[in-house]
């Protein structure tokens, strides 16, 4: 057995959190806590980069697999990565240190506790993407609710209690049905090990119900229309770092779950329910884009745009085409970077003016030019301008969709236009125009840490926009094999 690299990825943040828990800082001075958290997350990021380098791209088998008996004769603690999950792990380890840096500006009280929550959250998020046993997956998937609930509830805005409850209960309600499904799979197939389940397949007559149970959980988490209503609330009330984690990583758990479990385990049911997903995705894309147009609150607007973007993702996944699924994965990575950056951009002006309302800004381009440039870049990335990572994802998804269903693809393409409309309008109203408020003149431009965070996000956004090969190479074999497995399963039924 080699060095348990995945377990150390999962455990390291928790160890850091424990360290923070027992460390004592002087009143009002939290620099030790910050440095410990930053150090932990950066080390974790470096480990994940090492993971990516030593990852073998030519096979779709799970790599770095660890298999330990956990509950005798029932569940094994089994983790491993393939081309699909590795990117999400890197996304997680990349975003978390940025969140840790960003707390400098936004979190005022109980910073140490906040960092502990973020670190524990990171452990759970990595665990979700590594787990290749259904029960282990469920454990990490659900456990993430606890730190997120606290992050929203303790450090959130004025309506934080309502939002935290809504977030928690919505997600829990979706997930308990998945638990029923997981236990049922155990009784039907005799195992919850994903690798074995891929080989054995799940009995076709149960697939529809099981698929729906998993769907209930992932649809809430994605979030898909009409169960998306928790997301705007949670985003608006959460502190900046919380919104970033939520948008960049938590939403991706569901997309990842759709690919890994819904497609992988229930091929027959996936075919059956494709029209449902298409309908909901198209509604999400068009309907929430219109809602986004009407928003007064910047965070809410970006939250609704997330719903629309995730609509593209679910659409792409269920095209069951190579391009569609690859596009979805890249779209998720890109959305992780871009939405994180957009929330941070909102956070920047919010920290200065304490308002998220669009109409309290205007004409800030001359006051804070550096900020305006970076904000511009991410706005364009969000609407999918060629040359940014957003374009690659949307383009591949639409290509996959055109192959599968012309009508759906045409409607979804309209969503791209709407996306451009609400993002550009937002940018215009906030950055250009007349100076609406004398107070705005007192704003200062990006400080060092904000500049660092936003550039860190800008680099990969542009890099993968021009040169997406590293991403595509990593996922290609795994996606091809997933589709082949799907097709053979369908053919044999």
């Amino acid at each position: 057995m080699n060095f348990p690299i995945l377990s150390s990825l999962i455990l390291l943040p928790t160890v850091g959190a424990l360290f923070l828990f027992f460390s004592k800082d002087k009143e009002g001075n939290n620099s030790t806590a910050k440095y410990v958290a930053l150090f932990t997350t950066i080390v974790n990021f470096l480990i994940s980069i090492y993971l990516w380098i030593s990852f073998d791209q030519s096979t779709s088998n799970f790599q770095f697999v660890e298999d330990r008996t956990w509950i005798e004769g029932f569940i094994n603690y089994k983790v491993g990565v393939d081309g699909i999950s590795i990117l999400f792990i890197i996304l997680t380890t990349f975003i978390t240190p940025l969140c840790v840096i960003s707390v400098n500006n936004s979190v005022k009280n109980r910073l140490r506790d906040f960092l502990i929550a973020i670190l524990i959250m990171e452990s759970f998020m990595i665990g979700v993407f590594c787990a290749i046993d259904l029960v282990v997956f469920y454990l990490f998937f659900e456990a993430g609710l606890i730190p997120m609930f606290l992050i929203i509830g303790i450090w959130g805005g004025p309506k934080r209690v309502y939002s935290a409850f809504k977030f928690f209960l919505y997600t829990l309600l979706g997930s308990v049905l998945m638990l029923v499904a997981i236990i049922s799979i155990y009784w039907i197939s005799g195992t919850t090990d994903v690798i074995q389940l891929y080989e054995l397949g799940v009995d076709a007559k149960y697939q529809n119900l099981l698929w729906l149970a998993f769907f209930s959980s992932f649809a809430v988490k994605t979030p898909m229309w009409p169960v998306h209503t928790w997301l705007p609330d949670a985003h608006v009330e959460a502190p900046t770092a919380g919104s970033v984690l939520l948008a960049a990583i938590l939403l991706k758990m569901a997309g990842y779950g759709f690919i890994r479990f819904s497609l992988g385990l229930f091929p027959v049911a996936s075919e059956v329910f494709t029209p449902l997903i298409y309908t909901l995705s198209v509604i999400a894309i068009i309907f929430t884009s219109f809602i986004a147009l009407m928003q007064e609150d910047m965070k809410k607007l970006i939250a609704y745009s997330s719903v629309a973007h995730m609509g593209f993702v679910t659409l792409g996944i269920f095209t069951l085409q190579q391009q569609g699924i690859e596009g979805s994965i890249i779209q998720m990575i890109s959305h992780g970077l871009v939405s994180a950056a957009l929330f941070l951009c909102v956070g920047v002006v919010y920290d200065r003016m304490h308002s998220r309302m669009i109409n309290s800004y205007g004409g800030i381009v001359t006051i804070i030019p550096k900020y305006s440039i970076l904000f511009m870049l991410f706005t364009l990335a969000a609407l999918g301008l060629p040359g940014t990572s957003g374009f690659i994802g949307e383009f591949l998804i639409l290509m996959g969709a055109f192959k599968d269903n012309f009508l759906v693809a045409v409607i979804a393409s309209l969503g791209v236009i709407l996306g451009a409309a609400y993002m550009l309008w937002l940018y215009k109203r906030v950055v250009f125009g007349k100076l609406v408020n004398e107070d705005l003149k007192k704003m200062f431009d990006l400080n060092r840490s904000e500049y660092l965070i936003l550039s860190c996000l800008a680099v990969p956004t542009l890099f993968f926009g021009f040169y997406p090969d590293p991403l595509i190479n990593t996922i290609e074999v795994s996606v091809t094999d997933l589709i082949n497995m799907h097709n053979t399963n369908i053919a044999s039924k």
């Binding site: 005798e72 454990l139 609930f149 209690v161 928690f168 236990i183 009784w187």
Partner: protein, 472 residues
């Protein structure tokens, strides 16, 4: 000659009770020594139980009226540990109310003796004797703070309703005896296989009586009042120890004498289970007193335990026992926290009193956070695994309805647990509470919280112990 070693724990504990009574009467100011000696007695009884009976797979005594098997030994040990911990963390609470008397430990010992007899019973009469012994001790315990109106009211209510349920139980027993001609469980089991109408009545009466004892809906009415009125340490005792004994008897009744009548009782248990889960979750939402809330939450948890029993499989029974064991630990932790809400000789027990606790008492709040999330059944805490095993057993029997209702009610229940967390973490702080708690209280809170938190690392041990229980 019977092998009396097997009932040595019961013999020892009876002798201790008699000795302590005599000691308490003849020696002045002997509260402290009585307390310590009874702790010692429980400890020795536990050691004897482990030594003498733990390796016994199944033995019967006294004309098969007492049975010693792996279930009875395990449950006795849990009972004894529970009793020990209750006694050990009670003393400072009792001192505050000036009721630190010799009767308290002796009553707890006698009720434990009654429970041990119940757990081992294999005969209607032995069972009833044990039941009454423990109930009589519990009535007095409920009124133990006799200067307070609420406590007296609680005791009286408990007495009246419990006597009623005992009456129902006895009537059921007499009907069953009438049909089978014997009070012995094994003989009853062989005799009862007809679909006699009246016999069903007998079973229903017995089940109703037992449901009263474990406070399953719709026979739960006494629980909130009694839990609220009794002294907190007694409430802790109520929520833990008698439930274990009653659950064991429940299992014994369902799977020994009534084994052949599964069709008759299965629906009843499913109904009790669903009603308890749903009602426990919904009714707890509006509560303002923590002890009342715990009463409703314990009703809900009994519902989950019962759904394991409804499966009619060894897996189900084992999962119920795992559930109740984990529940006992969570309850102990929760009450330890509750006993720490003390300011200047006064104990606080409203949910509002927890407001903003996290600012002044971060460690206590963290423990409460862990405990409450565990009670809500959120992974990776112990409470999740308890539910997980139960639903695994339930789904094995393809009882989807039960599983889905149960899991949905966990979502409702999560709401009121979250509400407490909200009050602790999100609300404005109040004055500080005292922090000079007894060492035992801190110890029980720390140990139980760590057990809850880290259960997921070693889940197999508990399963291994419980998997030796094969009733069917």
């Amino acid at each position: 000659m019977e092998n009396l070693n097997l009932v040595l724990p019961e013999i020892f504990i009876s002798l201790s009770i008699m000795f302590l009574l005599v000691l308490g009467v003849f020696k002045k100011n002997s509260s402290k020594i009585t307390f310590n000696l009874s702790l010692f007695a429980i400890l020795i009884t536990a050691i004897i139980t482990i030594n003498e009976t733990f390796s016994v797979s199944r033995e019967t005594l006294f004309n098969e009226s007492v049975v010693i098997d792996s279930m009875s030994s395990l449950m006795k040990i849990i009972t004894l540990i529970g009793g020990f911990l209750v006694l050990v963390i009670s003393s400072s609470y009792l001192k505050t109310f000036k009721i630190y008397n010799i009767e308290y430990p002796i009553l707890i010992l006698s009720s434990i003796l009654g429970m041990m007899v119940m757990i081992s019973s294999n005969d209607l009469i032995v069972f009833y004797m044990g039941l009454e012994l423990q109930s009589l001790a519990l009535y007095i315990l409920a009124t133990y703070n006799r200067d307070q109106l609420k406590s007296s009211e609680a005791g009286l209510k408990y007495f009246v309703l419990s006597a009623l349920s005992s009456g129902l139980l006895l009537y059921g027993c007499s009907l069953v005896y009438g049909f089978s001609g014997s009070t012995n469980f094994n003989i009853i089991s062989n005799q009862l296989n007809s679909n006699e109408y009246v016999l069903t009545f007998g079973i229903v009466f017995i089940l109703v009586g037992l449901a009263f004892k474990i406070s399953a809906v719709p026979f739960h009415m006494w629980a909130p009042d009694v839990y609220e009125g009794s002294p907190t340490t007694v409430t802790l005792f109520f929520t833990m120890v008698p439930k274990i004994a009653a659950l064991t008897v429940f299992i014994r009744f369902l799977y020994v004498p009534f084994l052949n009548l599964i069709d008759q009782w299965q629906m009843i248990i499913i109904f009790l289970s669903i009603a308890s889960m749903v009602f426990g979750a919904v009714a707890a939402i509006g509560q303002t007193n923590i002890k009342r809330l715990i009463a409703y939450s314990s009703i809900g948890h009994i519902g989950y335990t019962l759904s394991g029993l409804a499966t009619a499989s060894n897996e189900g029974i084992q999962s119920s026992i795992i559930y109740i064991s984990i529940y006992v630990v969570m309850n102990l932790a929760l009450f330890s926290c509750l006993l720490m809400l003390r300011r200047k000789e006064q104990y606080y027990e409203d949910i509002e009193d927890l407001s903003g606790l996290s600012k002044n008492h971060p460690l206590l709040s963290l423990c409460l956070l862990v405990i409450l999330f565990s009670l809500a059944g959120i992974p990776p805490l112990a409470g999740f695994f308890a539910k997980f095993y139960v639903f695994k057993a339930v789904l094995e029997q393809s009882m989807f309805f039960l599983a889905i209702v149960g899991l949905l009610s966990t979502v409702v229940a999560a709401f009121y647990y979250l509400r407490i967390i909200k009050i602790i973490y999100f609300d404005k702080e109040k004055d500080k509470y005292d922090t000079d708690h007894s060492l035992w209280l801190k110890f029980s809170l720390t140990v139980s919280t760590i057990l809850i938190l880290l259960y997921f690392i070693f889940p197999s041990q508990l399963i291994e112990v419980v998997s030796r229980i094969n009733i069917i």
